[in-house]
């Protein structure tokens, strides 16, 4: 787990009030939604908001790619890095 992945896992735990988990309990390739961690659509909205606030991204909620970006901690980290780099350049 790299620093950004750990940061995002911690953001998930804090934002979604997962009091029974720590960031280390969420594997980077564990599916976040449905049968994986068990997050739902309200969590997706809440998480998108938290990512916007923390990393200054704009998340298009309806796009098919958003579903792919939000699949795991690893995919979220790749997405955040790409967006932040795109904004910087």
């Amino acid at each position: 787990m790299n620093d950004l992945e750990r940061d995002i896992a911690q953001l998930i735990v804090d934002t979604l009030a997962l009091e029974h988990l720590t960031a280390d309990d969420i594997a980077v390739d564990q599916p976040l939604f449905g049968q994986g961690l068990g997050l739902d659509s309200v969590d997706a909205l809440e998480l998108a908001l938290a990512l916007q606030n923390r990393y200054g991204l704009r998340v298009a909620a309806d796009s098919k790619s958003a579903r792919e970006h939000f699949a795991t901690v690893r995919s979220l980290a790749l997405y955040v890095r790409a967006e932040v780099d795109a904004c910087a350049s």
């Binding site: 997962l18 068990g38 309200v42 809440e46 908001l49």
Partner: protein, 241 residues
């Protein structure tokens, strides 16, 4: 006039939880210091529990044992002020120009706790969420009585208030501390119970200085009648043998 039997009841306030706690409190009712304590609700799985506000936890803690897992009972949720904590958090976000939390928004509606009860307990029947004035407790009883009249074998009725943020001082003055009273009610059918009557208040009776639901908890212990005037309404509780 409504005749009801109280099959079971549970109440909660900070540090006052068990039947023995309430018997002690009822003997000498006093203001309870509210330091934000909340029930643990370990019987709710963590992924569901994280969505429960303090007020929802208080309600679930009190009401949960009153309904068996294999029965379907109508549910009445009554609160004059509702989820002030969630509302205040959203007002703060609006004030800062920040986006609203979808979770706070979705669960701030008055029937959210009734909905959570339905989901967590697998209750597919009727539920009611009401907000009245200082006599919200009596209006909850009226709602429960109408559900019993429609044939429900019993009704779970819960009155709950949470001590609001200090910003509400001067606006909300009738929640000295967070509390709930959960009742499992059925028709009296000639057996022992309580009779609730409503008359017109001719104006010479002043409102009482303690939440009606808590006065009723005291009456459950000492069996005394209650007189609850509020504006044009005058509610009377009398024990029936």
């Amino acid at each position: 006039m409504i005749d009801l039997s109280i099959q079971a009841w549970r109440a909660w306030a900070p540090g006052v939880d068990s039947a023995a706690d309430w018997a002690t409190w009822a003997a000498t009712p006093h203001a309870i210091v509210d330091a934000g304590e909340q029930p643990g609700c370990e019987f709710v799985p963590p992924m569901q529990r994280r969505r429960l506000s303090r007020m929802a936890r208080i309600v679930m803690h009190a009401a949960w044992p009153l309904c068996a897992d294999d029965e379907q009972l109508p549910f009445v949720f009554a609160s004059r002020h509702g989820e002030t904590t969630r509302t205040f958090a959203m007002l703060d976000e609006i004030g800062r120009g920040a986006p609203l939390s979808p979770t706070q928004f979705g669960l701030s509606v008055h029937n959210a706790i009734a909905g959570q009860w339905s989901i967590l307990r697998g209750q597919r029947g009727e539920s009611v969420a009401i907000a009245g004035e200082a006599d919200t407790f009596e209006h909850a009883i009226v709602e429960a009585a109408t559900l019993l009249d429609e044939g429900a074998p019993a009704v779970i009725a819960v009155v709950a208030e949470e001590r609001p943020a200090p910003a509400y001082d001067g606006w909300i003055d009738d929640v000295p501390f967070s509390y709930t009273l959960a009742l499992r009610l059925s028709r009296a059918n000639g057996g022992p119970g309580w009779r609730l009557s409503l008359d017109e208040n001719n104006g010479d009776a002043a409102p009482v200085d303690m939440p009606h639901a808590l006065r009723f908890v005291r009456a459950l212990h000492d069996g005394a009648s209650l007189d609850h005037p509020w504006k044009t309404r005058r509610w009377t509780w009398q024990p029936i043998a």
